[in-house]
Amino acid sequence: MAVSENMSGTKRAASGTGAGTRKAPASPEAQRRSLLYPALIVVILITQIPFLLTIYLSLQSWNIIRPDLGRTFVGLSNYGREIFTAEFGTIMLQTIALAAMALVICCLVGLGLALLLNRKFFAKGLVQTLLVTPFFIMPTVTGLIWKNELFSPNFGLVTWFVGLFGIEGFNPMAQIPLIMVATMVAWQWEPLFMLVLLAGLSAIAEEEKEAAQLDGCNRFDVFRYVELPHLLPYYRMVILLGSIFILQVFGEIYVGTAGGPGTSSMNLQYLTFQTGLVGWQVGAASAIGVVTLVLTLVILTGLLRTMNAVVKEEA
């Protein structure tokens, strides 16, 4: 029964038609639609239509708690006033820097832990479970842990610890807030990188590594020539997936630093919230939202292209 995939696909469709005419009046295509369209329509309604409305709102001047000012069409002036400012530029760069720092930490720590976990050792299951846990923690709780438990200037554990070495005035949440937010994000997302890379590592046949060792490869060579090329598609997948979420960090900032001091730890997501739901400037917030989407798509496309090229080169 050596039927090619395409053939079996056609056959399936054909037999489906046969069954359909005998049992039910609906054709396979109609059945396919009736199962698929509810999900499709709901997702379009909830995610795509509002975005069109965002574009429309971004052309309006509208302060939602000042109905007396009314809602007026202002063309592109929201973009002019909100986007081409030094502050917006800085926050845009902060968004990118925050995601880049978090991604680099995730990639390195995730790989290190995956390599260490891909062995047999005592209490492996427990160790892995504990290492995965931050992934399940609320971002707001992460903010709280960082702000109070670890780095509180008064009673933080880390503050106390560095104090033992005579370091005074240690307050990283105020001094290097963006880096601290990046560490929070990395802490939350490192488990995903670790799990995916571990899945990649454990898919490598033991014989392949042994063969390389018989050929005189040391542990590093095995990593470089056997494991790393095999991991690249896993990296591509987890970096793309991770970036989608890491570009939209919010809860950690809200609780951890409130975007401050000043705007020094804000990202675009936070700025949109701040403008729209704290400042009630619906038009301006929508314009920022539109630019956030454009930036996200540019970054994701760039990442995908780069990583496709890397994967292809190594393959």
Partner: protein, 282 residues
Amino acid sequence: MSSVPASSKRGSRPTPWVHYLQNAVLYLAVVVIFGPIFWLILTGFKTDSAAYTLPPQIFFTPTLEQYASALQSFWGPFFNSLFIVGTSTLICLLLGVPAAFALSYFYSPRNESIVFWFITTKALPLAAVLTPLFVIFRSLRLLDTPWALIIVFTGMNTPIVVWMMYQFMKDLPRGIMEAAQVDGVNLFQMLWRIVIPLTRAGIASTAMLCVIFSWNEFLFSVSFTAIEWQPLSVAVAAQQTSRGQFWAQLSAFTTLAILVPVIVGWLTQKQLVRGLTTGAVK
């Protein structure tokens, strides 16, 4: 240039001390990565003054008084979260599972790209839809009701259900379904009696992922709810402002708040990766 004896040892296991060194690094990583959560749980059992004592105390007389007072403000937001997350996850499954079945069962050249389209909707930043959703929910008077969050979580998580369930269903053996079809099983029976039981583990892990994502979501939660229907993620942030000075009590509250997603996550971590990686890695 490696030494011949070392490389000729078949499957050369690392020497014992390398093995133990690697273990030591891992255990240290556990302390650094899980430590903050462990300490949070521990602090919830301390008295308020003990929570602030430096050097930090590992051994102390545990007390349940923090939990007693944390529980008073816990049940409200907890049941809000439970209702919102439960309802939205159920709707996501009702929409997503049949869609994934349709995409994996019926042949169409567009299926792969439809699955891909679903997952690209995740790339849409929440910021890009925040204001219109707020305006819409405001005019429909849905702000500070569970329905606003149920609607947005359904939109957020249905694509994940379609994506993951498609990966699980694609791998099902064709023969079973074709045999069932020959037996004259209709489409609903096929889905309910054959496909769903076969992918039970996948459905469970997908549902759990939806639960974790919506339980922990914060941007929409803080934007669309106020006092009445605030879920736990918002309650944690609110408590941090109002009870920041009572760190032990806040720790107890926070420990309760993370309980559900952490337990759910522990139970499903293995399935989770399978659903996310198969298909995404070629």
